[in-house]
Symmetry: D3
Subunit: 293 residues, 6 copies
């Protein structure tokens, strides 16, 4: 169950309207790594978890916090739009280049559809979609997904930080950056513990019987490009991070095996198939046409 | 530039048709963590890279390999479909429960659209889309995204391994599992080196001036749920993985700050706004209606 | 802020596995009118509201309840999948038609991606997307949208009720049906009050100066088809529900006005445009070709 | 069958080019509540209808009219783009802030793809998609969906009305506003008649045997937030609009029932499961690693 | 304007229910090359046309016909679903393999959402979207797009023809196949006339001043794969179809030009950039960490 | 297999930053007819081909070339963004209208997500999706699809050519235009050969037994609009391009056949159905309500 409290985790107020910036903040609401994504991702990971206890508790807790972040950002967007110009005319644009910028830079749907409010979309107006969510039931894989999400999210916020001078907006972003820092650290700590305790190990999923994979290819750094520096990295020699192998470097790809011959499915699929004799078939084409008529 | 060679990195042949399994393999071709995703992701990461040399070489190389994996899987799907039943009638279904299973379980678009061939879609027929791709220009974040992708991808293949008895299919999956093992290890090794060399550090992005974030919230494990075990994890006490802080546990969320008052944008957005006096307004409603007529 | 409690609003347990039914329940989780839609819709309506007080309180409350409904359903799906068959082989299918049904009827991504868990998708595997959400800032319009959502949602649950015999599943659906009944009634009551108090009236948005619309077309039931019964309805004669007009029936559409002439944008768009003289142009075509070479 | 007449229902001409406004009009063509949505929605409702006669006649008629509205708007967009600047250079931008506004504000795909023409997309360039369409076969639910669609559509047009000074554009919008007024009234009248005649009643679907739902929850206004005003509304006390119950107010949610224990699906899904003994497992991890090698 | 007539262009009736086939027919309604696509595509091509007269008349006419085809198919789908089983239980499945097939093979949303009716989706349940539509304003390009659409559409129908034994369904498909034949021929005739009259020529767009392209690459068949037969085709030697050049064959790609150095955008994008000295940077990492704390 | 070479097929460098133009170039990377589309389309056509030899060789080769085109364009986009302004403030906008234009006109996700890099999206920020891809297994249909793709692609590039003055960008576009010219010609030559050799003929698919279609409708130009010029085209009289028929012109649509009666599916779908007696039903409504309570 979720309970709602009419308060914000942190202050979300702004000094002046900025419709263009409101559009940019939409990225952190409804983008690939926005707050809706992490809120939904952590929720589904909790619901798909197979162990009660601390990991699931952590997922439930963080999910609920992230829904509150959506709320802070939606509140901020509404304020950035509150006094933004509505009825833009040519005269207004001629007088003030800022207005010209707003004309193009704002999310017009925030105006036309939401009446100067926030929407569950990204900064290009793409609706949030659940294809962003990862919840596999394997905690080491999913916590790694979460580390990634918090990293990407913090990068976006850091970039946005420099694109406004508004102290109120920056204050909120400073709070979000701090929470992203915590969440990065949190999932890293959880992923590390999973491995140290032996609950999950590398390579993920670690319970798959590893002898069933073709181990001769499991540590080969094969170069499919022509960059000469690929051999220089720690992925090309030395022990592998999973502790189970030793990297080797292969500077050109295997010759490979011949492709199997093209398939010939049921003729009622009407695919183009090879004729026994192209010339002969061409000769027969006129007759065919006659017959079909 | 990309050059193509008419060979497969590994053998992709099957003993018998299996249209239902062909549909499942589509997940590894065109799903969220299928081969198209990683091929495109590594390509865009390489194109957005800001350093020449080993990291970019690695990205280009792995991208090219993954496009070849799409090819192996598409080839396999075509073979699984080659002899699959085409014109299914009631009689056929009555005679053979397997046919009944195929009716429902295959990807009908593989038949209707591709003529018994593969398509760039997932196992539910959702077209692959670029919303799956991550390429931020920050290598530590992106390599973490890659570790996650290889983990999720290997989980899917491991699950699929047990859903077929066909030795040819299993042989290919064994190869793919091995390459996923390598790629997990590879990105882990690369991410580790980035940190050890100080090029990128935690929290990502490490060059953002950390004093600009509200540091008092950067290591607080705040419990927004009521799970009693959340305090037990390494994210609730002890040093944080970024080496810059000490975790503390907060067992109930902050009271929070009051929400700002609702916004009142331009009246021409026709949002519902508070009347100075509800009763008065109700009284005036009849007159309004008359005036509007 | 949202707080989470590790309890379910109502019991969600099942007697036996049913992977096919799990797929169907996904509709109520991640479909157009599933619980994610209403949870997000009511949240954004609250955040975009311009009046504090009872309407916004109602929105916040119902939003939080609906997030809890997602949780109950996700929990149920995981249980329906818990004992479902994993490694389906031909032999199994031959022996048991039920298995054949499961092969085709389950959501294969629930297995391959979620490891026998729920996902934020609908019953055809389409990821939930925010294009389903409506939050205009106009409460009468939005409450009408909510009435519709609760009606469509209750229809889906009612249909699903008859597609299972499992008492546990039916018990949960009986609870959801009751809450849908309440929410239908709730939004109807709220929409009615808005109108009775004069805060919002018909036609929505009622504050738009109605004289600016071409009133002569505001109550015309114009028949663009050839159905002879269209004139029989209450929309073709008598007073209009907004209380501002009288319906009239027009049994054939207006002649209409001529289409404006086709546009001729800048020639560098390379659209096909009319030649001053078709024949002449054809004559010049050979020379053109020579000139272009 | 649909027949086309080369005339417009109402005049669609403009005085001057306005590429930015053309983009905004795309919302009414291809947005969530644009004309394509209602045209398709009414069509599918007619095709899925189970009663011949006035309701279906009304659906067919209105569907055909709405396709004509798409045509008027597409024609208008082409005209707004006809003389719009094509080859924008830095010099042009320097000289004229209006051009600067156009650079950012227009739909670049209207230029690059449509050659200064309209496209079936919304004002942010999202392609129209059929996820917007509702056609359940239940007329009371669907007519309520239609009332909502006409309300949301009229709000969007009303907002757009103030964002242009062009008399031709405003003239067309005045016509569309009038038709939206009619259609709001029309669906309201139809929905009312359905209920008064007893064909459909509240709660929808009314033929579902209501005793099968848990009636004790059917009229409870349960507060999942902490807003103190929720009890003040007509949804918290008094008779319910369906005439079948009496609202009651519950100021805190039920305690709820315990979540069922986490699921333990087949181990070949490789989800993370609880170890019988965490410490023991950690101890065994080194041996495991050796065994796996 | 569009007018509707309550009749079908051709008979659409079926002998017996077939829910699985209903799902397949959805492809021709709402798929990439279904009837909605061509109806919308021809409409937008007409609205974006720059010449009045026969080409636009043809577009308007064919668009209207295709909307009628959607209607025939939606009508057929509703009939195929009319008597299909609704409440499927285990017992029913055990008794009858056909039911097992239906369980998995039908579009569950046709039941849950549409109440045994058609929906604007494809055979995998993907909602139709406007990304399928092409309307460039260049008639030769667009008619070629139309030829392609009619070819792909006829292939899908031909494949579907063999997947049913129902005489009523086949009768309708026979009609649709004939109209596809006509429309293929129609667009071919129109495209041919455009070229013969010199209105549009190859390469499209023919009015682009061809000397502005790098003509030395305009007729080179460069082999980027290692297939030895590529040189054998008419694209590798002889005159080009546009009549302006002579094909040549180049059996290995050009060496190419060096990639430009990686970019170094503003540091506030926090991309990973090359350090002047990797070792030095690693040495400085500890100090950095201290400074950041 | 795909191999990568760290070189570009042609030079991709720019003289000055232009973030707005970078957004426009995204169309050619990730749009409906961008380079990703053709690269993926030709790849899947090759993998679904049923004939080894020249046609498949051509597909593999062109696919690989197109992946290289994606690379050139992504490289160009990164350069156009390299020096583009990052932290835009009001002061900057006031001083310089160009900055105002950039504010609105650039793809903000290229900044926020990619850190001044390219992304697999179109010029409106829609992620590329595989719904753009066509690969039917029928070569004549697919080559026609390819001709169309190369035409539409060349139109987009030609339009973009005039929207920049940068010599470096124009140089690259001149190269791409030339390759589009070649590819148009190439697919035309291949499609022509298929027909001349009789491998595939019109109408596609030519192997479908044509007598099974209702031939009386196969060459009828039926006018569903009221344009008087439709009869003037070569599609209304004379021999059809497939050589199998003679066009005739029908100036008004057939009367059509009556629609079948509406369906009456299982009552548990809760669709609205006709009452035997409307009045009677209305009379019974009160009792019903009582009974339901």
């Amino acid at each position: 169950m979720f309970l709602h409290r009419q308060a914000l985790q942190y202050s979300a107020s702004t000094e002046k309207p900025d419709a263009v910036y409101a559009r940019k903040l939409q990225e952190v609401i409804g983008g690939q790594y926005g707050e809706i994504t992490v809120a939904m991702q952590y929720s589904f990971q909790a619901w798909n978890a197979h162990i009660p206890g601390k990991y699931r508790d952590l997922l439930f807790s963080t999910a609920a916090e992230e829904f509150g972040h959506v709320e802070m950002l939606a509140t901020m967007v509404a304020q950035l739009l509150e006094k933004a110009p509505h009825g833009i005319t040519d005269d207004a644009v001629q007088d003030d280049p800022t207005v010209a910028a707003v004309v193009g830079g704002m999310d017009v749907q925030d105006a036309i559809l939401a009446g100067a409010g926030a929407r569950p979309v990204d900064s290009n107006g793409n609706p949030w979609n659940a294809g962003y969510v990862t919840a596999s039931g394997n905690l080491l894989a999913d916590f790694t997904s979460n580390i990634n999400a918090e990293m990407q999210g913090r990068i976006a916020v850091a970039r946005l930080y420099h694109q406004t001078d508004d102290p109120g907006v920056r204050d909120l972003l400073s709070f979000l950056l701090a929470r992203d820092t915590h969440h990065q650290n949190q999932w890293l700590a959880a992923a590390r513990e999973l491995q140290e305790s032996g609950v999950e190990q590398l390579p993920v999923p670690s319970n798959f019987p590893i002898k069933k994979e073709h181990r001769e290819f499991s540590y080969q750094a094969i170069n499919f490009s022509d960059g000469e520096s690929m051999a220089e990295g720690p992925w090309a020699s030395g022990p592998s991070p999973d502790g189970l192998g030793e990297f080797t470097y292969v500077d050109t790809p295997m010759e490979g095996v011949p492709m199997p011959p093209p398939t010939h499915p049921d003729s009622r699929f009407y695919g183009t198939t090879e004729a026994p004799n192209f010339v002969e078939k061409a000769a027969g084409a006129v007759q065919d046409a006659l017959k079909r008529s």
